[in-house]
């Protein structure tokens, strides 16, 4: 697991992005201070999900209002598809992501 920042760096009900060699990851904090990480690319047209409005455990994509579940990465609603989720945890206020490339390092 790789530390990417502190919980306090993300305002509740918002997201921020983490750049990696394998593409961007959106890291989100809910109103009840849970943290989720998902691929930062909307399955619809590639919108940056970390810029969307966070509500409950979902985020609405800023480009065309697709709603994505933060916990499963799936599109909410009738459409099929979704994004990958990334293992994520908070220890003593620090956010860690489970990144394959880092495990190897």
């Amino acid at each position: 697991m790789v530390p990417v920042g502190r919980l306090d760096d993300i305002v509740p009900l918002s997201g921020r992005c983490v750049k990696t060699a394998g593409g961007e990851i959106g890291v989100f904090r809910t109103a009840d201070n849970r943290v989720f990480a998902i691929e930062n690319r909307c399955p619809h047209k590639g919108g940056p999900l970390s810029e969307g409005i966070v509500h409950g455990t979902s985020v609405t994509c800023p480009l065309h209002n697709m709603v994505i579940s933060l916990s499963s990465g799936a599109i909410e609603g009738p459409e099929e598809g979704g994004v990958k989720t990334i293992p994520c945890e908070v220890r003593e206020g620090v956010i860690f992501l489970g990144l394959p490339a880092q495990k190897a390092a």
Binding site: L13, V18, A21, D32, P48, I53, G56, N65, Q102
Partner: protein, 825 residues
């Protein structure tokens, strides 16, 4: 042709309705004279309860005002009680000697409240509940708050009186003879739920309570019951029932039983005398509810106009007009061998529904807590519909019956033309549908004005809206009733109203108080709520950035590839070499791929990385640029032509006015974007007549335009007014926008808002009412004190001093950049 003389004794709702229908059908047939024992015009007696509780005033419940009588040349004798009918001479004489001769007489003397003849019943402080005088007496008694009232009678009227007095602050006890409340209309189970609800409002209920006497010397002090209980009272309301007022008819020698006996044509035993309303006995039945009286009224109006319609008696239904209690009952629900019951209870929701069937036909229905299907059951009851096919799902209501779809209008579509929609005013479906078509009605308010449907108690508003939807299709704006989003049942207007009424000043407070069904809303409601709170509490509300769309959060426009575009403000569309040079330098420095001139006379730089935004703004800021708000639901641009400065046709300084408007209004948030234009002459080079707000300068002054559109819809503007000076033009435009800010629904452009509330209304408030205009203007000015902060400068500052503004700083940076490290490894 000489008009025939129609004399009416009584001026309540029933004769009022007779005359209304008669003048519609045959306006020139009769000279009408009315004798009214009460000193006033016709008012809506069934709305006395809201007057008592303070929810309405007398003015609100007037059915026919002075003009109505004047327009029809009706002679109205007020405060004159007729005490003799001379059938030989065909004339009536009032107590003060006023007389009138008739060709046809209509008796509508109504009913008298029944007073139990117990000792003390005539003490001061004992009132009945029948007319406005009674209500005024009750309100007066309640005035020094906290006094005690006893209501004798736990029926419909008694409970409404009790609720009204409790709302006025009195401690109320209801004394009721039977085991459960409203036992004539409700079964014991519904009676129990009702008792629980009424008791929860602080009203004490005593059932099986028989009044022995009313105590007091000069004024009532208490009520003594037969079981020995004494209840203290400063006011006693007798609401134990009514008796037809038939004494006058009896004295005139007409046939009278319990009431004045009439045939199916509603004629009394004297063929030139009709009777209508609560004073009537028809086929052995007397009625005290408004719907049957209105049915009788239609028949009489038809007979008077030369028709031959007949009255066959009424099946009645009951609704309780106490705010917050939903209760409906109709028909007969006594148990019996041939009766079958279908019952649905939901204790948590406080819902009880019972439908009584006999031979697969609805005989009775009691609904408590959810009365939406009352009209449906009632129609089947009246029609004697065979419900064999529906039985399995009957109790779940119309939407679930017969595998029907969940489209709520389907239920209304299925109702027959003569189905009653508005029980208070006796308006059937076809009458509403016809009126919508013939008179081009567009809104609930229109329907109320033209048909009176839903104008009284309002419980049929939903049905009327569905009829509007059915009849008009897309032309009826369903937003009027549509919830804001899936998180609430409330529409935008209700939410806006409640935010103000309840003084809600944060998004969590709104969601808590208005019972949002989700923890923190959704991407639809949160931006709307954030706007409403910014607009309503400009000095107190702390803007919630997490409830704004990315463009308003980042102060730039997101593009399809996740980059942003930046549009600096160019006041009135004017720029300079210094500004253009600064833009050129920024474009080179940050390698901006596209530069484009916009439709609003601005320069757009596209394809900027998010992380570069604060630096771009820092450079632009040095040249004097501020944010152009090209991303905002707010004031965008004021487009101008060159006006008198250069143009040989210009009539006024259009550029100057445009700059002035823009400098005054920049930074303000609005329900949807606002684009303006100022043209220096009617050639209109600034295209002001398709803008949200536009000005067309003319020699004599400034034409103020608004409600144009040139996007999804194309629409020319409406002219609001012409003003003489620039100052007046500014004040008018600012007031107009403030009115829109306070009333518009989120994302509703000015042209849609104006069409919804009416151009006349906008004109009335902004152009014709200087005080109102000033009020809006001042509120806008106040709001601007908190809005005119350049967001770009703030973020440039955050870049230079991240510790002071961490959030603004963090917004533009990734949480972490692991790509470089990974690449290095």
């Amino acid at each position: 042709m000489d008009k025939k003389r129609l004399v009416v004794i009584g001026n309540g709702m029933a004769p009022g309705r007779v005359l209304e229908r008669l003048f519609e059908a045959a306006p020139d047939l009769y000279d009408v004279t009315i004798f009214n024992a009460e000193p006033r015009v016709n008012y809506d007696r069934i709305m006395l309860s809201p007057v008592l509780s303070g929810e309405k005033t007398y003015d609100d419940i007037i059915i026919h005002d002075e003009t109505w009588y004047a327009d029809r040349e009706i002679t109205l004798h007020r405060g004159k009680r007729v005490d003799e009918i001379d059938r030989e001479q065909k004339r009536v004489v009032a107590a003060d000697g006023t007389a009138a001769e008739y060709d046809t007489l209509l008796i509508a003397t109504g009913s008298n409240p029944f007073v139990i003849p117990v000792p003390g019943h005539d003490l001061p402080g004992v009132v009945t509940y029948r007319d406005l005088e009674d209500v005024e007496a009750m309100i007066a008694a309640a005035k020094p708050g906290g006094r005690r009232a006893v209501v004798i009678g736990g029926g419909l009227l008694g409970l409404e009186a009790a609720a009204g007095l409790a709302a006025r602050g009195m401690a109320v006890t209801v004394v009721h003879l039977a085991d459960t409340l409203m036992e004539r209309q409700l079964d014991p189970a519904a009676g129990y739920l009702l008792e629980k609800e009424v008791a929860s409002r602080g009203i004490t209920i005593l059932t099986k309570a028989n009044t022995e006497k009313i105590l007091g010397d000069e004024h009532v002090t208490a009520v003594a019951l037969k079981d020995g209980t004494t209840v203290l009272a400063d006011l006693v309301v007798m609401a134990v029932g009514i008796r037809p007022a038939a004494a006058l008819a009896k004295a005139a020698g007409l046939d009278v039983g319990r009431g004045i006996i009439v045939d199916d044509g509603l004629r009394t035993s004297d063929p030139s005398i009709f009777a209508v309303g609560e004073c009537v006995e028809h086929r052995g039945a007397c009625y005290g509810l408004v719907a049957p009286l209105y049915e009788m009224a239609s028949v009489i109006a038809d007979q008077l106009a030369g028709g031959n319609r007949e009255y066959a008696g009424s099946v009645t239904s009951t609704k309780l007009k106490v705010t917050g209690i939903d209760l409906f009952s109709a028909g007969d629900f006594a148990e019996g061998d041939d009766r079958e019951d279908i019952v649905l209870r939901d204790a948590a929701l406080g819902v009880y529904k019972r439908v009584v069937l006999s031979e697969n036909r609805v005989k009775g229905v009691v609904l408590y807590g959810d009365t939406a299907d009352g009209a449906w059951y009632f129609q089947m009851l009246k029609d004697g519909t065979d419900v064999t096919e529906l039985r399995d799902t009957l109790i779940f209501g119309q939407q679930y019956s017969g595998g029907a779809q969940l489209d709520p209008t389907a239920a209304v579509a299925a109702l027959p033309a003569d189905a009653e929609i508005c029980g208070c005013n006796g308006i059937c479906k076809s009458r509403i549908v016809d009126a919508i078509g013939e008179k081009s009605l567009k809104t609930i308010a229109d329907v109320r004005t033209h048909t009176k449907a839903s104008a009284s108690c309002g419980s049929c508003t939903g049905l009327v809206e569905q009829l509007l939807t059915l009849t008009l299709g897309d032309a009826y704006n369903p937003l009027a009733v549509e919830p804001m989003c899936g998180c609430t049942n409330l529409g935008h207007d209700d939410v806006r109203r409640l935010i103000k009424v309840k003084g809600l000043k944060t998004i969590p407070a709104v969601m808590q108080e208005l019972e949002w069904s989700t923890a923190n809303g959704c991407a639809k409601c949160r931006p709307a709520l954030n706007y409403y709170l910014v607009c309503d509490w400009p000095d107190e509300y702390a803007d919630d950035y997490q409830s704004r769309f990315i463009n308003e959060r980042a102060h730039a426009n997101i593009q399809k590839d996740g980059t942003y575009s930046v549009v600096p403000r160019m006041w009135g569309g004017q720029t300079s070499s210094k500004e253009l040079r600064a833009i050129a330098d920024v474009v080179d420095k940050y390698d901006i791929p596209t530069v484009k001139v916009t439709g609003g006379q601005r320069i757009d730089m596209l394809g900027i990385q998010k992380e570069d935004l604060p630096a771009v703004w820092a450079d632009l800021g040095k040249a004097g640029f501020v944010s152009g708000h090209a991303y905002a639901k707010g004031l965008r641009t004021v487009k101008t032509c060159v006006g008198t400065d250069w143009c040989r046709f210009g009539t006024q300084d259009s550029t100057g006015l445009g700059v002035r408007i823009e400098k005054f209004m920049w930074g303000s948030w609005t329900p949807a974007k606002v684009k303006m234009g100022v043209s220096g002459c009617p050639r209109n080079c600034a295209e002001a007549t398709c803008k949200d707000v536009g000005v067309v300068c003319v020699d004599s002054g400034y034409e103020i335009h608004y409600a144009g559109a040139a996007g999804l819809d194309i629409k020319g503007t409406e002219v609001l007014c012409i003003v003489k000076t620039e100052d007046e033009a500014l004040e008018t435009i600012v007031a107009l926008v403030q009115m829109y800010r306070e009333q518009g629904r989120y994302l509703e452009r000015i042209y849609k808002w104006a069409r919804r509330i009416g151009y006349d209304e906008v004109k009335r408030q902004i152009a014709d009412d200087p005080a109102r205009r000033k009020y809006y203007f001042d509120r806008f000015v106040f709001s601007q004190r908190f809005a005119q902060v350049d967001p770009w400068a703030e973020r440039v500052e955050a870049r230079e001093n991240p510790a002071a503004l961490p959030q603004q700083h963090a917004e533009y940076r990734p949480l972490a950049d692991l790509s470089i490290r990974e690449a290095a490894e």
